[in-house]
């Protein structure tokens, strides 16, 4: 924890590994939210709050 983070350097892109992991995790979570079925979404015209 006390050591400096490693960095990914790709052309003009320079980003720390922790930040890259957070952004990658967010993209994966967003994709899952789009693809995963929502409970009872197909039951009718409306869904309960």
């Amino acid at each position: 924890m006390d050591s400096p983070a490693s960095y990914v350097h790709w052309g003009f892109i320079l980003i720390s590994m922790p930040n890259l992991l957070v952004i990658g995790g967010m993209i994966i979570l967003f994709a899952i939210a789009l693809a995963a079925p929502f409970p009872h979404a197909e039951d009718g015209d409306d869904v309960s709050n």
Binding site: F30, A33, A41
Partner: protein, 215 residues
């Protein structure tokens, strides 16, 4: 209302601003819009959960922040329970930002500003900006060497931007006051306005279902 009017009878052009305000609220925000128990079919997606999770994270940020401000820096640095609440505050903020950005992505790709919702979108943008300011002042309010390091470096950025005279990051009292009072009140007020505006207009229809629900 005149003294001779029967109870409940309301003149259409009343001079009472209280009455006109109540009528406007009834007209634009009836209770079934404010607290709906059903939603259109297209709200059945996990993408719509991101905004709610952001609000839940904000609640934890505020609750843990109130405890931290009540107990003080020595407690949040030295005691086990204080460090727990310090961490709770920090990680709630991480979740708040992560889910706020996921909510932003979702609304961007579904063009959430359509059909008269531009103000809702713009308030969301302002919430994002004020939240960043709140987080920055939070880093300055930690009362440790990390906060001092950030303040010493940030002062140059503030001065080069011309904001140093108004926003002195070396002034702990100013930064702490902004962090625990003005900025959180601003974020909370804007979030409430954002939610009310969503309730007034309803959730925006998907782009491929323009014919369906209320605009």
């Amino acid at each position: 209302m005149s003294a001779t009017s029967p109870p409940g009878a309301v003149p259409s052009e009343s001079k009472s601003w209280t009455l006109r305000l109540r009528q406007a609220i009834d007209r634009h925000l009836p209770m079934d819009h404010l607290l709906p128990d059903r939603q259109p079919y297209y709200v059945g997606s996990w993408v719509y959960v991101f905004g709610v999770v952001t609000i839940a994270a904000l609640v934890w940020v505020i609750v843990s922040g109130v405890v931290l401000s009540f107990m003080g820096p020595q407690w949040w640095h030295d005691s086990g329970l204080g460090r727990f609440f310090n961490s709770l505050h920090f990680w709630s903020v991480q979740l708040f930002f992560i889910f706020m950005v996921l909510h932003l992505w979702g609304q961007y790709f579904m063009a959430g500003w359509r059909h008269g919702r531009a103000a809702t979108w713009m308030i969301g943008v302002v919430i994002f900006g004020v939240s960043i300011l709140t987080a920055f002042t939070g880093y300055l309010s930690q009362q440790n060497f990390d906060a001092q390091f950030i303040a010493i470096n940030a002062k140059d950025a503030m001065n080069s931007a011309g904001a140093g005279a108004f926003f002195n990051v070396l002034n702990f009292g100013q930064m702490y006051g902004l962090h625990v009072m003005l900025l959180p009140v601003g974020v909370t007020f804007l979030v409430v306005a954002h939610i009310v505006m969503v309730r007034v207009r309803g959730v925006v229809k998907p782009i491929d279902a323009e014919g369906g629900a209320r605009p």
